[in-house]
Symmetry: C2
Subunit: 318 residues, 2 copies
């Protein structure tokens, strides 16, 4: 089959990759669309030492598996947990933190930038007919955006600032907008600002932000500087939600965290069912985030496109 | 009057300091005992640029003030807030985070290493007769220790590790012990280990700690390395409580915070009434932490003693 692969620090397009064979608890998925995420870009810079087929945002058709799934369009949770009784995280109902987990396209599990993918059936969610492929491919990052609401209770009383209006940040902004909180997104680029205004979200230039003005700051920048900026925007007793991984080890003003009794909360994968419901009810606009769609054999060009500063979502079509 | 002062990067003992005059809302306090805290040591290294009389742990007698306080033994909360209706923190009932606050012996407010101190009467708490001066002088740091329980719900189910078994850490350990959680304190020094065992608290050498084994880690080290160590000991979804300020800007593995969905919570001043009740009911042992008591005119020797590695509480007697 065809696939984008990452081996020996080199991203490549290959046509001779062996088609994966599903294990008894797995389905064989024919990928329809896949999205390129910042983590995929970081993988090409060596993140987590991943080798194999990247890609963890996808919508696919089940071509082999249980009768109730066969022929269905599905999306898939990316953490493949052990679900063993001796696993504390699985027993606590937090399989996404299972220490034995593999992660689709990120850790010891091939990903979706290919014609086929095998994945544990319990990870699959059927996509309602009313949700298009172009929308369904956003379920994974939209679920991650929704995880912010699991990490910190947000009410219409809260002043919230989001920094890092990239692919993930633009989804988090829409999810935060749903809460009725007083949301402001820090944005430099015209394209992002226009979309946010279209969605009714207030924006500010980085230079216009008031110091210590937010109850909650969500950092989607993924750059060490973002953490320091975000911290500066928080009121005492405020909450800083970290939504993207960082390159390197940022320096952190932990004394400010102590003196002002700040909470810093890491947030990762989120609820697929809620993300699907938002798309079904058209409560978020994901299609406007699509910047381009490339056929799989132009996957390397797609990666180059996704790496352009300010690029929003670049899709692959199989 | 006599006082320990810090001016122009120099700690000094003086006998010619003007006695402070109380404002209408203030009481004049004659200090009986005061304790040297790590923040006092940091002040001598330039922390927050403080100039004046340091000292914020004390027990005193009210020698001028309201009739209901006059002649009483008191301890005092250290944050002097504005309590104005336009102040968000004061209005929310969080005067310790008032942005206009002064802080006794730390920020724009003289402290307790002197014969006399003036302090807002609303900050004072009367000490019950059954609580000795030697115990009452611990109310401020014991309240700070109790603030850990305000920051994170702790139950007997939790595995908790405390690192940094110094002056504050030894109080936090006793407070955590009260919760019934499975507590372990990382300790290198024999003196601390013996006291902890006496209190029924388990200890471990730093080399024997299991990676990712704690639901909650409380970092009382105050050193940048402490943060990294503490983070390494946490289970996924664990909580790291930061209890001491840090010298400099530590490097922080914020990617681990995101991927493992860690919570990092800064914690500072705490409830004086609860601390007094613990002392009254003898639920914590503070007297064993007293390493030495110096007369005020030997204050510089007291500071030198307090700076010895592993030193526990050094008191001043006026």
């Amino acid at each position: 089959m065809r696939a984008i692969t990452f081996h020996d620090a080199q991203l490549g397009y290959r046509t001779d990759v062996a088609q994966p064979q599903p294990q008894p608890d797995e389905a064989l998925l024919k990928i329809r669309r896949a999205g390129i995420c910042n983590t995929d870009l970081e993988i090409t810079r060596g993140y987590k030492g991943f080798q194999g087929i990247p890609g963890h945002e996808f919508v696919a058709e089940v071509v082999a598996g249980s009768p109730d799934l066969l022929g269905k369009r599905v999306v898939g949770e990316i953490n493949v947990a052990c679900h063993q009784p001796d696993c504390e995280m699985c027993s606590k109902g937090i399989p996404s933190q299972c220490p034995r987990r593999t992660t689709v396209g990120i850790r010891q599990h091939d990903g979706a930038f290919a014609d086929y993918l095998t994945l544990a059936e319990r990870n699959l969610h059927v996509v309602p007919d009313s949700v298009s492929d172009e929308a369904a491919v956003f379920v994974e990052p939209l679920a991650a955006a929704l995880q912010v609401l699991e990490a910190v209770p947000i009410s219409p009383r809260d002043d919230i600032i989001l920094i890092g209006a990239g692919k993930l940040g633009m989804l988090v902004a829409q999810v935060l907008k749903l809460t009725g909180a007083n949301l402001c997104v820090i944005v430099r680029r015209e394209k992002q600002a226009m979309l946010l205004h279209q969605w009714g979200v207030a924006t500010l230039m980085p230079t216009d932000v008031r110091h210590r003005s937010a109850d909650v700051v969500v950092d989607c920048t993924g750059v060490p500087d973002g953490f320091a900026q975000a911290l500066g925007m928080l009121k005492p007793r405020g909450t800083l939600v970290l939504k993207s991984t960082y390159e390197g080890l940022p320096q952190a003003d932990l004394t400010r965290v102590v003196v002002d009794e700040i909470r810093v909360i890491g947030s990762r994968c989120g609820p697929f069912d809620a993300a699907l419901r938002l798309l079904e009810n058209r409560l978020v606009d994901v299609e406007s985030l699509i910047e381009a769609c490339y056929p799989l054999d132009k996957g390397l060009s797609a990666f180059n496109h996704a790496m352009q500063p300010g690029a929003l979502k670049v899709l692959l079509e199989m």
